[in-house]
Symmetry: C2
Subunit: 121 residues, 2 copies
DNA sequence: CTAACATATGAATACTTGCTCATATAATAA
DNA sequence: TTATTATATGAGCAAGTATTCATATGTTAG
């Protein structure tokens, strides 16, 4: 434990000439790191990926999404709320049914770009 | 429960004219969904984001990363192993010290693209 | 009004995950 | 050899997460 704190005070390990303060200035800041992680976390679950993948094709209601993914209505609804809180999807109500669609072209781009990368290799 | 299974057999809910089988054909398949989620999961943690953000600037050894992120050596090492297993980072050994660097230009692109999106809004 | 349908949501639970601690491995120095 | 430095790793735990179940809300039909 004491040793660890000592290490923290040192600025380089033996054999490195890297200027850490320069790296620290250039690297992504604390706040951005959390924002990035939060955004990627939304895409880090297969169910959410499938939901986004489906909404990429068409606006769909909860029931249809539940049929498409072969999952319970409640699970779908919970995940849609998650994505809605992050403004990744939006909803449109029409009578009894609620239609969901994508609400963020950024996510759409990232999603499609990454999908292409996975396919072409 | 019985009701749920009934729902699954229906192909549309009232008020929808969406052809679900057509959507299913176009949407991302099961396997791709899991691959996408796995990839994004690697980027869904602030520590891993910071690690990648630092290695985006420079190749760095474990100790320096531990200093930069102000975290214990063990935590850093565990996360580096995680990223290494997914071939996101690679390592180069030089004497006692091990230098890590990015190993996947895809991830790099996605990371930078997303970072830009977050900044410009 | 009541019944049926569509969606939302709180609680419970099984599972996952990120960190710490202690220790192991590996390389170098004395 | 032993001591020191750098990194790796297994176990354990606390916190988080995705699903299910039961139920609530809201909408339309009869």
């Amino acid at each position: 434990m004491e040793k660890q704190i000592m290490d923290m005070c040192d600025n380089t390990c033996d054999g490195t000439e890297t200027d850490l303060s320069t790296v620290k200035q250039q690297m992504v800041d604390e706040h951005s790191a959390y924002e990035l992680a939060e955004l990627f976390k939304a895409l880090s679950d297969p169910t959410r990926v499938k939901l986004i993948g489906a909404l990429l094709v068409n606006e769909l209601c909860v029931h249809d999404l539940s049929v498409l993914l072969e999952m319970g209505q409640s699970a779908i609804s919970h995940q849609l709320r998650y994505l809605r809180n992050l403004r990744i999807v939006k909803r449109r109500k029409s009578g009894k049914t609620v239609y969901y669609s994508l609400d963020d072209s950024h996510i759409e781009q990232i999603f499609v770009l990454t999908l292409q990368h996975l396919k072409h290799e």
